[in-house]
Symmetry: C2
Subunit: 570 residues, 2 copies
């Protein structure tokens, strides 16, 4: 998300167009990948073949260091996590380290809603940004197809006699679309008489919200992918027993559709640092980080991997630590929390909705007022035994006094290193101080450990995250949730990580609560298994899994020129 | 469609895997395209850049000869039109002509229904056949996205105040999916209360049935693509005036999604002949041939272009002559009609449903009984002033006596050249006789002309096709159709080609009528404009635009092996 209010910096698209990109083969070669390891898609995009990943895993048993980028509680202004991730990767290369970047893959559909790409920005973006924000290498389309194939086979099974005795009102597999098409949220399908099958209520979710996205981002190869798809629970039968994707014969066909999507995409940053852009699950009903397979191959190929977690320490980062790190070999050696002066002022304000314009003026006291939110994220991450460095992402209107206030507070009051970052405007050079502090942190002794044991009871695991990370006083389980816990424990789905779905706008479950909410209880409405992904989803509220377009969608202002160039996309 | 009953020939997939493919750059280089003209997708697939197409159009003003491949009335057995198209292209190269092939692009969704790929077969197929039948270069996905973006913007317009006064019950733009998902045929969308907008009846069509597919296959560049998208009628307002894609602001965003799909895909046949595989519109509600842009570039690049039209002379070929040739520079210099001994026996039978097993035994008299159907197709095509050659595609169980009976009949009774083709089993070598006869035909004088004037009244154009091509005694317009004609004439949509939607199973509008049905009247139910494509669609019956899966879908028997290879797809 670019700081759109700065007139002196050209637009992301203009910057992107002004840069000479290298052939992707030349970009990855210094890291040990050759042309034969890649499936090229044009000259600047490629997928890494699974054989190459196998080879890299075997040849290089020592991992590089992994730096996880997360943020304080997000504000509508954007704090610049992806920009910082990309810029930090560039900075590490500038200070002589081999470093790779891994970020999430944007969805196509949302691009047409509210303006704004998702590939970093300024002089810290991944290229070719217009491709990455459009069809890219087709991963999202493959996921949509595979998701809908499973849905089609499910309804076809019911129509063809329903041998498995599937309960029509207990189907857990909606359809998927990669478009902000709000009217598909709740539908009735199967109308038109006997020939089309059984009418029933159904709905669509955004492809990124599909359990298949989570599956793709956790699978370590084809066999694991198939196993995960096969065990996805798509419905229950009339006796309440789970019906899986495998039961309806959909495993292999869905895996065939995903066999190329499983291969991580590699592109380059604006400074030629290789960037893996692969997978983008929701950070509430799923774990919110790019694919494990991309992280693993990148960590094997370089001294440093910089990877991003969605939202703050309470969402993407918590899930990276408690979920992702258990499924793969990706323990973080250091974490950086992206903070901004604007976000700190925002979290220190007492009013709701906040007065965004007022955040532009210098106001060091307002910055101090918001530090509690940052502090909580720092303490949250320290609980995992990992060194933390705060990155203050500087925006044009920030003053030196404001920036210094944050850095001094971190170093003096919290005892954690902090550095200003100007990677948006300056590229890697703007992140050298941050890079050096993170190198020190990552080289230091650390003792990473997830926060809870998998063997703990479901409610205990939820309570641990709620109280230790969110800062809740406790947890209240509604009766449905209690029943879910009992049923899931009976089914043997209790010894897996938990994935709590909570608003990202607040550390609490109330989006309007800024700073560090106190005196509150986390309410749990429902718990269901993402058996393919391998975790339990814990719902604290309704989740919007299919957004709509605004009254003036970005799509209406886009232009395709005769020469194929575009405007209005970013 | 392979003759699956022959045990001596390995499967299409086995044959495909046994062949060493060349880098696509090497495949197209002899025809004047360089690496810079291509956007590579892996080593064996590429898109031809629009700049290269512009250059080819300018540099080479003389077209090569165009040979159109069509067939007699299709039977459930398959006659082998794509196989013949591919084999003929290979044969032309074998006899020293520069020749290219252009065929339609298969849809992804149907692959999971009834077994059978759509990329030729045996030793006359296009490679890599598994990619072509799966995501290929993403064109179908781009079409699905663009189609659904328009639908999303339409419903969003209504929700955000409906400034254009769109009549909710007169929306002509369903949603699209590339999956045989029957329960989506008829749906209700927009449920869930005020926040999602206005509930209404809606439905999904297969992506290949979208008007956008027809648009993509007729557009000659970006400007034309945008113009065509912009004028698509997506709904009517409360006053009955058309609302276009442009009115709802969707033109450019949809075009942006299609900008790469517009570029023709080039791959290779099993003998290394370049093959354009691009676009695949329905041959009933649309024109049923691969993209005009692929045909044009291919005809400019080579001495011979072999291109295929869907179904028989009454559908794809009629539409190629009366619609496609008017929009672009692609007049056929010769036509070949693919016939088979089995199909002739089938059309000579009196019973319904036919006894397919009986078609295996030698029975020359049964062949004679079916010749009338072939004769009608020959005479149909001769009406366009184009030389016709009959291709008898030999299947393993056919006897010499049967094949000779067909060839003798064509040459002696009809006065048209005919040749046996064994390209499925023998590759290009099996089509040399056919190739030579087609060269003679294409080099001869011809005087191609469409069958009707665009200025003729709508009903007259329909009557011309019905009586001259289908063999109907006349046309009956139901009252709705009469009203449509009046309305469309008032709107100024009358001076365009007509695209009659009729069953492909029969020359008549009754799928059960084999041979050459007599004493029948074509009934017209509805006429609507495909304003973007630029023709009127004339419905003779309900069209199934979203098929379902069978009781045992092919998907259930597919396998993805650990090494990424697949089985059960073909």
């Amino acid at each position: 998300m670019p700081p759109a209010d700065d007139q002196s910096i050209p637009s992301d698209y203009e910057i992107a167009q002004s840069v000479e990109t290298n052939h992707i083969v030349d970009v990855v070669e210094p890291f040990g990948l050759t042309e034969a390891d890649l499936k090229l898609v044009g000259e600047t995009k490629a997928k890494v073949e699974l054989e190459a990943i196998e080879r890299v895993r075997e040849e290089r048993d020592a991992n590089g260091k992994t730096i996880l980028v997360t943020g304080m509680t997000p504000t509508p202004l954007g704090e610049g996590k992806t920009v910082t991730t990309v810029g930090l990767g560039q900075a590490l290369n500038q200070v002589g380290k081999e470093a790779l970047v891994a970020v999430r893959e944007p969805s196509l559909g949302p691009v047409f809603g509210v303006k704004g790409g998702a590939a970093g920005g300024g002089y810290s973006q991944v290229l070719p940004m217009e491709d990455i924000n459009l069809h890219f290498t087709g991963d999202l389309h493959a996921l949509t197809s595979a998701h809908n194939l499973i849905a089609t086979m499910l309804d076809n099974h019911i129509k063809q006699g329903n041998e498995l005795d599937i309960a029509v009102n207990w189907i857990n597999w909606p359809r998927a679309i990669d478009m902000n098409d709000r009217v598909l949220r709740e539908t009735v399908v199967g109308l038109g008489g006997e020939v089309t099958g059984v009418p029933r209520e159904d709905g669509f979710i955004l492809t990124a919200a599909s359990e298949l996205m989570a599956v793709l981002c956790l699978a370590d190869g084809i066999d694991d992918l198939k196993e995960r798809i096969g065990r996805i629970i798509v419905a229950y039968n009339e006796d309440g027993e789970p019906i899986t994707a495998d039961d309806i014969g959909a495993t292999d066909a869905a895996a065939i559709l995903l066999k190329d999507a499983l291969k991580p995409n590699v592109v380059q940053t604006i400074e030629g640092t290789p960037a893996f852009v692969h997978g983008g699950p929701f950070a509430n009903i799923a774990h919110g980080t790019n694919s494990l397979i991309a992280d693993e191959v990148a960590a094997h190929l370089s001294e440093y991997l910089v990877t991003e977690a969605g939202f703050g320490s309470d969402l993407g980062a918590e899930k990276f630590m408690n979920i992702v790190s258990r499924f793969g070999d990706v323990e973080p050696d250091a974490v950086t929390i992206v903070a901004s002066v604007r976000a700190l002022k925002y979290h220190g304000q007492d009013m709701w909705p906040p007065d965004v314009d007022a955040l532009e003026d210098e106001d060091v006291d307002a910055v101090y007022d918001g530090l509690a939110n940052l502090d909580k994220h720092v303490r949250n991450l320290e609980q995992f035994g990992v060194p933390v460095v705060v990155a203050v992402n500087r925006f044009p209107q920030d003053t030196d006094a404001e920036i210094e206030a944050v850095i001094d507070h971190c170093e003096e009051d919290l005892g954690v290193p902090a550095a200003e970052s100007t990677v948006f405007a300056d590229g890697g050079e703007g992140g050298i101080d941050l890079a050096e502090k993170l190198i020190d942190a990552a080289e230091s002794e650390s003792s990473f450990e997830p926060l809870y044991d998998l063997e703990a009871p479901i409610d205990e695991k939820i309570e641990t995250v709620a109280t230790e990370i969110y800062g809740a006083d406790g947890v209240e389980f509604h009766s449905d949730a209690r029943a879910d816990i009992e049923r899931l424990t009976d089914l043997g789905f209790d010894d897996v990580p938990i994935c709590i779905s909570k608003t990202f706008h607040s550390l609490s479950d109330d989006a309007s609560q800024k700073g560090v909410p106190e005196d509150w209880t986390l309410e749990i409405n429902e718990i269901y298994p993402s058996a393919g992904a391998g975790f339990l989803v814990v719902l604290t509220a309704d989740v919007l899994t299919l957004p709509g377009l605004p009254s003036e969608p970005a799509a209406a202002n886009m232009e395709l020129r005769s020469d194929g160039s575009i405007s209005g996309l970013f």
